[in-house]
Structure formats: structure tokens, C-alpha cells
Subunit: 367 residues, 4 copies
Amino acid sequence: MSHNSFGHLFRVTTFGESHGVALGCVVDGCPPGLPLEAEEIQAELDRRKPGQSRFTTQRREADQVRILSGVFADDRTGGRQLTTGTPIALMIENTDQRSKDYSEIRDSYRPGHADYTYDAKYGFRDYRGGGRSSARETAARVAAGAIARKVLPQGVAIRAALVQMGPHAIDRANWDWDETGRNPFFCPDAAAAARYETYLDAIRRDGSSVGAVIEVVAEGVPPGLGAPVYGKLDADLAAAMMSINAVKGVEIGDGFAAAALRGEDNADEMRASNDGRPVFLANHAGGILGGISSGQPVICRFAVKPTSSILTPRRSVDRDNRDVDVVTKGRHDPCVGIRAVPVAEAMMACVLADHYLRHRGQVGARA
Amino acid sequence: MSHNSFGHLFRVTTFGESHGVALGCVVDGCPPGLPLEAEEIQAELDRRKPGQSRFTTQRREADQVRILSGVFADDRTGGRQLTTGTPIALMIENTDQRSKDYSEIRDSYRPGHADYTYDAKYGFRDYRGGGRSSARETAARVAAGAIARKVLPQGVAIRAALVQMGPHAIDRANWDWDETGRNPFFCPDAAAAARYETYLDAIRRDGSSVGAVIEVVAEGVPPGLGAPVYGKLDADLAAAMMSINAVKGVEIGDGFAAAALRGEDNADEMRASNDGRPVFLANHAGGILGGISSGQPVICRFAVKPTSSILTPRRSVDRDNRDVDVVTKGRHDPCVGIRAVPVAEAMMACVLADHYLRHRGQVGARA
Amino acid sequence: MSHNSFGHLFRVTTFGESHGVALGCVVDGCPPGLPLEAEEIQAELDRRKPGQSRFTTQRREADQVRILSGVFADDRTGGRQLTTGTPIALMIENTDQRSKDYSEIRDSYRPGHADYTYDAKYGFRDYRGGGRSSARETAARVAAGAIARKVLPQGVAIRAALVQMGPHAIDRANWDWDETGRNPFFCPDAAAAARYETYLDAIRRDGSSVGAVIEVVAEGVPPGLGAPVYGKLDADLAAAMMSINAVKGVEIGDGFAAAALRGEDNADEMRASNDGRPVFLANHAGGILGGISSGQPVICRFAVKPTSSILTPRRSVDRDNRDVDVVTKGRHDPCVGIRAVPVAEAMMACVLADHYLRHRGQVGARA
Amino acid sequence: MSHNSFGHLFRVTTFGESHGVALGCVVDGCPPGLPLEAEEIQAELDRRKPGQSRFTTQRREADQVRILSGVFADDRTGGRQLTTGTPIALMIENTDQRSKDYSEIRDSYRPGHADYTYDAKYGFRDYRGGGRSSARETAARVAAGAIARKVLPQGVAIRAALVQMGPHAIDRANWDWDETGRNPFFCPDAAAAARYETYLDAIRRDGSSVGAVIEVVAEGVPPGLGAPVYGKLDADLAAAMMSINAVKGVEIGDGFAAAALRGEDNADEMRASNDGRPVFLANHAGGILGGISSGQPVICRFAVKPTSSILTPRRSVDRDNRDVDVVTKGRHDPCVGIRAVPVAEAMMACVLADHYLRHRGQVGARA
């Protein structure tokens, strides 16, 4: 069972609430002998950390990660800290648990949030900052993803980008991966990034919010990863991305656009090559055929809904089934899609690492 | 591990290839005491069965299901056949295994199919009719879904419809569930169905194929189903739908359209009601908030790519890495999306049944 | 979840009742490319088949196995039937479902059987021949075990023997594996086998039954199999053996005798060898240290209680909570331990195959 | 997959090494609304804590537990801290990581320990204090068990006792549960406890060690828990107990003694009672029939081998395959069986809690 776990051979279990003592994860099944330092995980966490620009929540969290187990610096192996093959537990303490007044969200259900559904399921909830349903949980995913990257074979590169903010999509002709590191939106199109900035400033001033689309691409994935038919690589990617807060849709390759295509246009033709692997002449499939990687780039896209916390009053009810109006104060991201970009990379890394080990288990050294 | 299983408490494991001896499934964890006859499963299978109109493959399969285990007609309980709580094995023998000449697809990789990826993963493959990657596997899902429907509480209704074929979307103002039973497309809009017919006849004559979008709706789902954060109801639905052959995208509620919305428009407001549950004034969320059902209709949509088997020659390679041209002969669906409609209902039923039992396990009788 | 499944990468799911249509299993995760014919599975099943001597039940079951899926005879690979890497479904139809009168066990609870507990759990039960709790289910395990043996690396040999029947233990000085094939008890000590015969004839004449101890030994197991700390090799073996019908105790190596030892006597000392692996000077540990195989023979022993079906009347109650006396008629094994011997081998093979693949997944080619 | 997890609906994942930063666990699936304070968990941990008498290791560990997540003190529910239904993470920091010289065990394999097998599996190991294979890991089990007890229905009582130390068994006629709290051995027989004391003092003076047998009894378990056939209650108990460090055998009810019984003697007869449940006239079965609880006390016994750390030199090899002699210095338990007693209770509680939720999931409110 896996309420709070995912993956099988590379298995991640996360814990923690927005305003509890700490959050973190346990990564089980990691191969032994991989060099791993807290600093490497920290570097990934820092990309997701709040408060890095005026476009993300101003909550001040150090998001400092500690490795509690599963690594060992053996003086016989040169003193480098290596994974041991046992569970790697990571912990991030919550430091900015501002003792604010939660009386409003304690009793009322914020529209678009999980307030009502948690109460309906569990009978009550940790209402502080959204509790377990807070996007803060995604820090644990990013930490796990930093480990997953090390499990993958040399040559696999995983990168994500914000390709749409509200109604503004990028121009794919402008795609430049380096650009994602130069603007606060992880946007690969410099011109679009400029538009995002103007647009999001207006959204922010209005106390409003907006959705986004993120695209994550894994290059260098060997063919053969994925396990038909319920352990398909795309099925696991779909679950992984849909489990991220606020995600409402996931697609692989052409995705929904494939519905409008004819067979001739959708089939990715192949030609022989010198290295023995076919060269694909297109990638409508997004690198996955029959649930198994084809060796082409694995391309996954997902939609994030607008942050539900906004300053405009919304109609709702309280715990006692009385009509109320709700305004969400507090510090929030006007576009949670931005900080979802490193999370997308982490989830892709974890899913691929799991399937890499699963494939090696069943088939041996082929991939 | 779950290469060929899904669900946890209501767990389905399928087996079988397109042209093997038989296909089927084992359903484990079904509650005891549910009346179950093979005829009830058969009725669902017949909705998916090939050859029912000129728009689906002309392969003639009886798709006759046998219950091998897990039921018992106790004379002490009136002789009705009931589930016993032990594994229910279902088998469908393959009868139309036409001894055709497979030499072409044996050696060549059909573009868009899983031929190359299966070979890349396993070193060889059962090439007859696509083997394990054939859509024939979905018969086992439909059979399992017939059982899952019985597990769900009274009042849950699950229905699916084809809402887009190629470039032709329905007009939602015309939506009539009854209409889905009157045309060969499971289309809820009579006017659109007429357009589909003309369009698909042309596609068929061209030896081409086209994609589609299916929408599946579950009404009457109690609030509280789903388990944050990796066992989210929407995450499990995403995996379940993405695991269906040819599916390239999945969305919940507004899905990708949510990316373009502002927070004010996306939040589903609530008002108090007489029955103690909030009344939602909209359903952008598709009935799921924070991964947990809200009591609103659960709405899931997915895109199916065009059938990869077409008469137009496509460039490809063979097993020996030589350039070849491939034409797919044989009997095929010009739009596999049609027969995916009953499959969509089955997958929704299985996921909900699993979460219904999971919720009852953790929380008791609340839902 | 795994009510009726075990193993992770080599995963076995069984189904079927004693007097249902059929029983069988689905083996998922088997590596591709292994030669597999139904005859090979049949050979293992025949060792367990009832009615082979006067000391096992006279029920006449052909126990004929059919492979429904997961294999393919590719003319490109010489026409040998190979596993494809997809689920292997096996089916054994029940042929000797004698239409006897079950009225007695239908309403009464046979002491020592699972009649009462099944009713307590499920509200009713398939009472014909014990339903799902019948030892007939173990045929599916033996079939799966035949596949598992093929997964293991060359040089692994798995054999089991009956080392105690009732109060009569073997003399270990007489141990001869070949002898297990010469007497109807799988007994490795010819002198003990002669005593078993006299003893069991008397038991049989009395309409009584007796327990037994089975020992299963796996030689040639590479060091490194097993995964601390809940996936320990010995923990999985303990569950596997305890899941066999009528088993009441499991031990590894010295087992319970280790409780009486001092540390000096229990430690298996080591000396250097030429092949780079230590030579152990004793094997109190039964080949497992810290849950991981040491390269020594893996030794597991388990106790089977006497068959609960006996001719002597026993006091009991019926479904309506009234006192009754129960006499179990029908065909039964006076010592179910005998037919548990091939089952023991099969369970050992399945557990080792699973851990072999798990190890390969996490660590690569080391073992 | 579950290298370091066990249970399904009540799922425990542990992490940590003997001399790492911290150890702990994540408990997932716990029902919401259960009062839970760190002090309650601490009370159980203190029973297992080292250094409480001269008969356990003198390592000084505070074993102070912190709850990191999964609980919330809601002022609306009276301010009591309750479980929320989300993962409960527990952490115990290692404080007494004495900076000793590990050069000896770093390079040599201690006989009876997991040193060689960890190296064989992973290529290297955290050798400090045994790393992951240290009995220190069992602290996490005890902590999880304290939560599991709260999940079980009212009236379930779980207690364990040391029933044999080395060759000295208790006299069952003297059994007094209260006595287990009065001597440092958890021994239920005062006379035997006195013998243990003398015996273990001698063992300790010799720098030797000795094995033990622990018996754990769960009373008040409702009938119907356990899931045939691989999720049998006894199969899960066997795995749970065998996964405890140094355990070499597990038995249920009469266990291995059942092998020597005849059917008449082994069958637990029943008589009708006033409360509608049968009264059993004996409990050879140890409260489990067909893998399902019968309502009788669930009785499980397991054997612990002598601590492998002893002062007598033993022959061994080092990492470079050279002969060496090993003497284990450091602080150790002369009889690890003593501290296994609270661990046994914890594992019983966890397994029962899991099956209680699993049963409720599949069957509803019956049990």
C-alpha cells in the first residue's frame, strides 16, 4: 500500500505538514556506493525554495536538509560519503511557523483547497497552512529527486520549463534551455518571460492568481524502461505528476493534440542508423511506445490550476454548515506553477530511477 | 510490485496476449457476499466486443467469460451465486486466432506500435496481433470493472462518452446520456454522432485512422475517497487511464484549461445545504480536491491517439537495422477511442472500488 | 496488497478452490527468454499429485496444467517456447469434483479446520472440500516453483525431505538425498522410511493422522541475497513456509536449538579460501546472516500439524451455535506432511528467485 | 516493495543505523482521531532501553523519541493531540556515538554477524556498531508498536515473556504475567528468573552469551483477522518475528510439538456458548485456523540465537581474504533475547493492527 509512498525498487515515502515540526522522506532501495552529500540535495532544494523572487511566496524557510541515515564515509574508500543501500532518511525542519491567527481557515472551507475534503475524510484536519495538503510537501520530492538523478545511468539529462502562464504560451521556436536559469519563471523563451513578468505583476497586485503548464524532458533515457501493462512508464509518470499539488492534467508527447491527428501524421517513422538503434524522424509519442521508453526524449507536460488562495472574497460554508465568505490572507504564490518546475524534474527522476532498477531486476544488464 | 496489477484492496491482475490461449484476470480483495453471475460480466464485455459495427475491427471474438473461482452458490443463502472473498479468476479464451502470415511484422517494427520497444526491452516478442500490447487486454479490465461496480455503494453511477473524434468535438449543450446507447460511437450528442459517422467512413475508406477524447463521469461518489499524497484519487485515475492502450493525456475537471484561468474563476464556491453537505456552485475541480473526492461528480477525460495500423506505407527499420517500408494489413479499428469507452468506465469503477475499501479500512464507516 | 500474492519482482498470485472450476496462478515479473514447456511444470506437479501411494489421499485428480499466456515459440529463435517477460498464467482444471453430500460440513465446524474462521470472517464459505483453505491450492505453488527454478542462476539446487513423522525422526547420519526418490515419504533415511511405513499404516487403519517436519535445503545460493530489514531472506522464507496449509512452525539453521547454545558454539567460524570467498567451518546460521545469504546452504525446516480430518468423533458446534459431534469422512491424507515436500521446494525456489531479481535490481550484476 | 517496510494498511517503514545521526520510522495509514503523545511512545521505548540492568548492554542511549508529523492538537477537539490520518514520522537521535576505534571490525568479519554478508551484498558497509544490522533498529519497531496498540479495538491485550534462557525453560505452572514486571528478564516464573540470574551472571563473567525463547500472547483478538492464503495472520507473524535481529525460529500455538501429535490430540474441540461464539476446549492452534484468527488467544513463540559478540577469540577472515582471529570488544547484551521481549509485543501489535484495518476494508464492520 502506498498512501504516501511511490516507486517500487526506488521507493520514496514522504511525511510532514506545512506547520509541523519537520517534513522529509525515506528513500528505500537506492543502490549502494553512490557518492551523496547533503550539499547536493540542498542545491536542488534551493531551486524550489520560496522567497527567491517577488513572484513566489514570501514565507522564509531555510529548507535546510539533513541526511539522517543510509550514507557512510568509509576511510577505506577514500572518505567520500557513499550510499550504503539502506534507507536514506532526509529531514527538513520547519522554521518559519509564524504563530498567526488561523481562526478563519480553522472553521471555514477555502474554495479550491482541500479543507472540506480533509474534514470529510478524516473528521478534522491540521488547518495550519494547509497541513499535509500544502505544497510544502513537495520539498521532500525534490530532495528525493536529487538522489534519483544519481541512480540513473550516465547521460540522462532531466530538465523542466514553464511553457505557459495563464493564457500566455511560449513560442517554441525560441526555446533555449539556458534561458530557464536566467528568469524567475524557469521559462525557456526570453520574450515570453518578459510577458510573464508584466502579466504576473498585475495578477499579484490584484491579489489574484493564475495557472500554468510545465514541460519536463528527459534526454538520454535508454530504450526498454517501463513495464507493461499497469507499470507502464507513462502510467507511472501520469500518477507522479498528477500527485503534485494543483495539477489537473498530464500528457505525454503530443498528448491531447494527438486526438485530432490522423494515423499517418502521428506515427513516428524510423530509419536505420549506424549505432544499431533506429533513428526516429519525429517524436509525437513523447519517447514512450506501449508503455516502454523508445530511446527518444521522454516528454511530459502537466497543467497546474491557479493558486486557490486569493484576496477576492469567495462564497463558502463553515464546519457547521453555515454560509460564509472567505478571503485567504497570508503569504502565497501568485502562480504555483513556477515552483512546480523543480518538482517536475524530481518526479521524472524518481520514476525513471525506479524503472531503471525494475528493468535491471527483470531483464538484467540489457538497458 | 505491480507490472500487471493495479489497485490495492480491490486488486486486479491481468494476463494474456492477443493470439495466445486465453486472456483474463484475477480480482483479489473483493468483499464477500456480493451476487455475481457470469452473465453480468458478459453484458459489460459485449459493449466492448469487436465487430459490432463497421467502425470497429472485424475480428470475430466471442469474448465469452468464465468465472473460475471466488464465487459459490450456497443453498443456505437461497442458491444465489455470491462472491466468497477469495480471488475471482476470470478467463476469456481466444477463438479467432487466424493463422495469418505474420512474417512482415515479425521482422519489422510498425511505427507507432510497441514492436520496437518490446524487442528493446525483452530481446524478442510475441508478434502475433501485437501480443501483450494488443488492445485485446482491455477485455480483462472490462470484466474486472463489472465486479468493481458491485463493490461501490448504492447510488454511484459511472458512465463514459466519446466527446471528440479527430477534430470534431461535441456540443456540450446537446449532452444526452441516453444518446450514447443509440449510436455506434457512445457519443452523447446526436448531431455530433452524425458528423462522426460521415467523417469516420472517409477515414476508413482511406485506410487511415483518427484519435479521440473520452470523458468518464462518476456520480454519487461519497466525499472522502482518495488518500493523500501519492494515493490521491486523481493520481490513481491518471495512472489507470494512461495505462489504457494509445492514451496520451489525462485530465480531471477543467484539466489543461485550468492553466489559463485566474483564481477567482477556478475556485468552486460553496453554499450551505439542508443535508449537511455543502452545495458546490461549480465543478472546475472535477470532484477532487487535494486528491480526495468532494461529493461532486468525478470527471476524467483522456485522449487516445489514432490507431497506428494504417494502410499508408510508413518508413521504418527491421530487426536487423535495415530500412523498410511498413503497411499494416489485418483487421483494425479506424478509431480505437470508440471501444475505449467501456474500458474507461471499468477503470473508473476499479479505482473507486479500491479507494472505497481503502477508506473503509483506514477510517471505518465514515464514507 | 497481497492477500493471495507473494514475492515482489517474481510475483505469484494464486486462485481457486478445492471443488471450483479450476485453480491456478499468475506469475508476473519472470525474466524473458527462458525455455518453458508445460511438461516441465507437469513433472513437478506429478510429484505432489494425490493418489500416488496408499499414504496420500485417494482423490483422483489429473492435475493437468495448461499455460495460458506469457510464452511464445518464435521461429526466429529456433521454435523453442520461451517466456516473454509478460504474465504467465497457469490453469489446472478440477476434474474429480465428486458430487458428494456435504450437508454435514456445510453446517458444522470441523475442529482444526478453517470452517469456523472462514464463516467468522466472510459470513459464509464454500464448504466443498474446504474451499480455498484446501491443500489443493498448493498445486499452484508447485507450478509456480517450476518456473522459479529456471530463474535462478546455474548451480542452485533445491531439495526437500521429510525428516520427522509423528514422533519418529530420521538419523541424520543416514542422510542420502537419492533415498528421497525411493520411498513414498520423501525420506532421506532408508531405515526411518521403513519405520514411517509401519507407523503410518497403523495411523491410517485407526482413521487417525499425524504431523511431520520437512527440511528444505538450497545449495549453490550466491552470497548477497536478501534485503534488510523487513525483506530479510529468512523473514520471507518464514512467511512463505508458514503460509502452507497446516504449518505451525518454521526455523532456519539450528532454529529453536540455537536458544540453548552459547555464543562460542553458535558462531560459524571462517577461514580464507582460494576462490576469494570465506570457507565456513559450520552452518548453525542455515546460510543466512543479518537476513542475507552467506553462500552456505540455505536450510529451512517447518512443522506440519496432523491432518484435522479424522474418523474419531470430535465435539464441535454448528452454524447455529448448537453442540454437535463431527466425524470427517471423505478422502484424506493421513500425513499431509508428505505432499508438503514438493511444496516446500517450490516455495524456496520462488523466494530465492524473487530475491535474486531484487538483488540484481538494486545492486546490479554483483550476485 | 518493502525492503524496510512492513504491513499494508498500517504500514511501518524504518530507517537508521547504530551510529548514524538518528533512527526512526514512518507509520502510514494510521486511522485519524486517536490520541497520541510522545510520552506514550516513550514509555514503551523505555522498556527496551539499554542499560537498565547489568544484563543488558551498558551503552547509554536516552532513546528520546520526537513526533515529527501526523498529529495535531486541535483546540476545537479540546486541545488533545490526535493522529490526523497522515504519516506519523518518529525520530530518535543517536547520542552515545562513542568515537571508538573500529579498525578491527572495519576490516574483519565477526563470525555470526552480518559483516561478511553486507559486504558481499553491497560491496562495503557502515561498520560502526553493526550499522543497519544493529539491534538498535528495533527501537523504531517498539515506537511503531506503541501506535499500533491504539489502533486495535478495546480489549486486545498484548504481552510477551522470556520463557527460556539458554537451556533453562520456565515451569508453565508458575506463569504469572505480573512477575514479568518484577525481574530484569521479563520472565513470568519467579523461580526461573532466579535461575536465569545466576546463569546469566556466569555467562557474562565468561564474556560469553546465550540464546532465549520469547512467547508473545494477544488476548481479545476478534475472530476473522487474517487473509488467506499469503496474507495469513500466522504467515505475517512469522515474517514479523523472523525479521527481528538474531531470531532463528518462529512457531504458532503448539508449533514444532504439533508434528509429534495425532489428529485426535491436536484438534481444538468446541462447545456452544451463550454469546454466540464457540468456546474452544483447547488452543493447540494458537488462535489461528486457516490463517484467520479464531477468537482464542493468538500465541507466537520465537527463538533468539546467542549474541555473536563474545570475548572468546573466533577464527575468521578479513576483507582481503586473509585468516584472522576476532574478539568482539565493546558493550553488548549477554542475552539479546531479554530486550527482544518488548520488540515482540510491538511486532504483534503492528501485525494485528494491519490485519484489523485490512479486514475492515474488505469486509466492513464485521470484526
